[in-house]
Structure formats: structure tokens, C-alpha cells
């Protein structure tokens, strides 16, 4: 099978690699780039553990090919905070005790991070717990820690919305 050379900006760094077209984006991140925090649960789009951002939108990295990311930007859970620091979404989940074994956590963090970016930018984002649950329904936690995860998401989104409001008011 012919290989393809791809150039992808991953967590801000430009990476080039030669991949087989059948390489999934998830395997490219984990095996070729060594970014193993993105987890693979089901590999058919159901569990959400492999969620990353592609050009700012959440996607299942198990349902995209590495070649689809050629010329695009990918953000994984390794890329959202400075080393040694937690991102506000991670802190909110930490403070809510929103993980048990932690396997599903990277996917939840990235799903919530995607929403949090919307909130910060003043774009519509879920506010009520019902809406948050709907948004999180694409991620599965086998340890069933949903209550705490929703708590963490709510805290993170409330904080981000407050920031957005302050910024807008400050700008007036």
C-alpha cells in the first residue's frame, strides 16, 4: 500500500510523518507521535474516549484517518495546559472528583474543553445540567462517575461563561 506524507500541527507543533492511508488519527497520535493520553475504548465511535479537537471542533479520532488531518490542526488533552499546570477544565473536574479509573477522562476533558472554548468566546454553550448531560451523552464512563463529571463540567462552563461576560463588559 502506498504511504502518504502528512504535515499536521499537533498541540501547536508542526509534525510531519509518513503514514499508511488506513492509519486512524487516533493511532497516528498514539503510536506515531507517542501522545498516548488519547484513549481508545471502542474504536467505532460509541465511547468518546478518543475525542480530540480538529481545527477547533471535537471529533472522534478513531473515526478519522490521519490523512484527514493533513494540513490541519489537532489538539489533544496533552495540549490544553502548560506543563505542570492544569487547565481550568481539568481543575474543575479534579475538584469535583470527576474520575475513578480515569480511562474515559481524556475524552470527557476534550468534550468539555470544546464547550468551554465556546463559552469563553461568547458562543452558545450548554448552561443547564440537562443540556450538559445531553452534550456529554456521547462519552461513556464505565466507572459510571457521571454525577461528578457533570458537576465538574457545570463548574468549568459557569466559570468560562463568567469570564466571557466580564471580558465583554470590560470592552464596553
Amino acid at each position: 500500500m502506498s504511504h502518504r506524507e502528512i504535515t499536521v500541527t499537533v498541540n501547536g507543533a508542526v509534525r510531519t510523518a509518513t503514514v499508511e492511508p488506513r492509519r486512524t488519527l487516533a493511532d497516528f497520535l498514539r503510536q506515531d507521535l507517542g501522545l498516548t493520553a488519547t484513549h481508545l475504548g471502542c474504536e467505532h465511535g460509541v465511547c468518546g474516549a478518543c475525542t480530540v479537537l480538529l481545527d477547533g471542533d471535537t471529533v472522534r479520532s478513531c473515526l478519522a484517518l490521519a490523512v484527514h488531518a493533513d494540513g490541519h490542526e489537532v489538539t489533544t488533552v496533552e495540549g490544553i495546559a502548560e506543563p505542570g499546570e492544569m487547565h481550568p477544565v481539568q481543575s474543575a473536574l479534579w475538584e469535583s472528583g470527576a474520575f475513578q479509573c480515569g480511562f474515559c477522562t481524556p475524552g470527557f476533558v476534550m468534550t468539555i474543553y470544546g464547550l468551554e472554548q465556546d463559552a469563553r468566546a461568547g458562543r452558545p454553550c450548554p448552561r443547564s445540567r440537562t443540556e450538559i448531560r445531553e452534550e456529554l451523552s456521547g462519552n461513556i464512563c464505565r466507572c459510571s462517575g457521571y454525577q461528578a463529571i457533570v458537576d465538574g463540567a457545570e463548574a468549568a462552563l459557569t466559570a468560562a461563561t463568567a469570564t466571557a461576560t466580564t471580558t465583554t463588559e470590560g470592552a464596553r
Partner: protein
């Protein structure tokens, strides 16, 4: 699991895609890929092992949304999330927006396409039912040129459509809602974002306080989405209200013979389809009266 090896093609135009498909010894050895949200699971699980994958993602101009008088055209490659957030789609064909909100999860809709959902033709999926309900027209391009297929001729079996193996779906044309029109999509699913056990797309046009026209399509109750023609006929000329809607519900249920599977029994689906028809007609009528 991982996809089996395949020859990968990345055409940049529809013409080129069609040329690649029709140039193969057997186009049946190839799979077209749009958003990959149904195809990638099949490849990952090796339920499908095509020798060739023709990836449409680099094809330009195939994701535009445009309105021409009473027709809204959505490019087949338009991402579901883009259509869902489009003010033009919301204004012209609100049923599409409502149904898209029920397709999988946002991360799936960020990549899944309008055309992919319709070409995949899952009988439980929302977009095929919407296309059937609204009498959308599918635009396909093959080696012989372009043709248009009415929704009523498009879905011809389980995961099977009128598209031939060397044809690409390029766009879907929806009739724009005129005055007095209202529509609704309602479904019963186990979990938000999952394929529904049954769903109903309903569209009504009122003239004064009489139903001039009603269109109903039911998903999840057969090998394709199903038009409830008996119920539609009974509603024509009727006064909208509980009596008319209950009769439509009964007519719909009576005409369906859904199979039992792990998700629900046939009898349950038959019953639920009727209940959903009643609800969908109620909401569609409210909206037609302007009480959105």
C-alpha cells in the same frame, strides 16, 4: 481492530471521483468516504474491507448551501453540524435542523455529512426520513452525467439506495416551506444521540383551518424509512385536532409490520409509531399556525 489495507484515492473534483470509480475493474470493490462516521466503524471492525477508498474530503464546492426560489440545495459534503447551525437552512427547511439535532452526538455531526447520512440509508436514521417526508431530490453524478432521483425512488432496501456503485451523491434539494407550513421530528431513543427505536417526520400545510396537505415518514420500522400514505390521505381536507391525529396514528400503526430486534419488539415499535405520529402532527400544526 484496524482497517484492512486499501488503495486510497483523494480526488479534488466530482468528475475525478466518478472517473476513478468507473475506471476500476469492479466499482463494487470501492467505497466512497464522506464524513466516515458510518464507514470508519465498518472499516475498523473489518465488516467492510474495500480494496479502494475514494475519499471525497478534498473535493471542492460540494458542501455549499444555496437557495434558489423554492428550493434549498445542500451539498452532499456539507457537515451535519454546519447545516444544523445554518440560518439559511433554519429559515427554509426547519425540519432538517430539528432532525439533525437528534443525529448522534456533536462530535459525530462535526464530521458526518448530509449526503453521507442519506447515502448510507440506515432505516433508523433521521435524514432519510426527512428526505422522504419532504420529497427531497437527490442529485447524483455518474459516468453518464448528472441525474436527479426523487426520495420516493431513492431508498430501495436495507442500507441500499438507487445510487449505482460508480455514482456520487453531490447534493440534496429540499422544497422550501411556504406559508401555512409546519413540521416536526419526534422520536423515541434509549439514550440521547442513539439511533431511535422509532421516529416520525411530519409536515403539514394548512389552508385556513383545514389540512391541505400532510406528509409523514416513519423511521426504524422497516428496511427503509416508510411513508404513511394511508394516514396522509385521511388528513387531507380534515380539521386539525385530536380526532384527526388519532385517526392518522391508528392508520399509521395498522400499516406497519416492524420486526422485533434486540432494541424493541415489533409490537412496541408499531404502537410507538402511532403515538409519535400524533405528537408530530400536533407540533407541526402548532408551528404551521405560527406558534413556533
Amino acid at each position: 481492530m484496524k482497517p484492512a489495507p486499501f488503495e486510497y484515492w483523494a480526488p479534488t473534483s466530482v468528475d475525478e471521483a466518478v472517473k476513478i470509480l468507473s475506471g476500476l475493474d469492479d466499482p463494487g470493490d470501492a467505497k466512497v468516504m464522506a464524513g466516515g462516521q458510518s464507514l470508519m466503524p465498518l472499516l475498523n471492525l473489518r465488516l467492510s474491507q474495500p480494496l479502494h477508498v475514494v475519499d471525497l474530503n478534498a473535493v471542492g464546492g460540494m458542501s455549499d448551501i444555496s437557495r434558489d426560489g423554492s428550493t434549498l440545495t445542500i451539498g452532499a459534503l456539507c457537515r451535519q453540524r454546519t447545516a444544523e447551525r445554518s440560518a439559511d437552512v433554519a429559515a427554509a427547511v426547519p425540519l432538517v435542523v430539528e432532525a439533525l439535532g437528534l443525529v448522534g452526538h456533536p462530535a459525530i455531526r462535526n464530521r458526518g455529512t448530509i449526503g453521507g447520512s442519506i447515502a448510507h440509508a440506515d432505516p433508523a436514521a433521521e435524514m432519510p426520513a426527512v428526505a422522504l417526508c419532504l420529497d427531497a431530490r437527490m442529485v447524483a453524478q455518474g459516468p453518464g452525467g448528472e441525474r436527479t432521483v426523487a426520495a420516493s425512488d431513492f431508498f430501495d432496501g436495507f442500507l441500499s439506495t438507487a445510487l449505482s456503485e460508480d455514482e456520487v451523491l453531490t447534493a440534496v434539494r429540499f422544497p422550501v416551506d411556504g406559508p401555512g407550513c409546519g413540521a416536526a421530528f419526534v422520536e423515541v431513543a434509549r439514550r440521547h444521540g442513539d439511533f431511535a427505536m422509532a421516529g416520525v417526520a411530519a409536515h403539514v400545510r394548512l389552508e385556513g383551518d383545514v389540512i391541505a396537505e400532510a406528509r409523514i415518514a416513519v423511521s426504524g420500522v422497516g428496511l427503509t424509512p416508510v411513508r404513511a400514505t394511508g394516514a396522509e390521505a385521511g388528513l387531507r381536507g380534515a380539521a386539525p385536532g385530536d380526532d384527526a391525529f388519532a385517526a392518522a396514528a391508528a392508520a399509521t400503526s395498522a400499516a406497519l409490520h416492524p420486526a422485533t430486534d434486540v432494541h424493541a419488539s415489533g409490537a412496541y415499535r408499531k404502537h410507538v409509531a402511532g403515538v409519535l405520529v400524533r405528537r408530530a402532527l400536533g407540533t407541526a400544526t402548532d408551528r404551521a399556525r405560527g406558534n413556533r
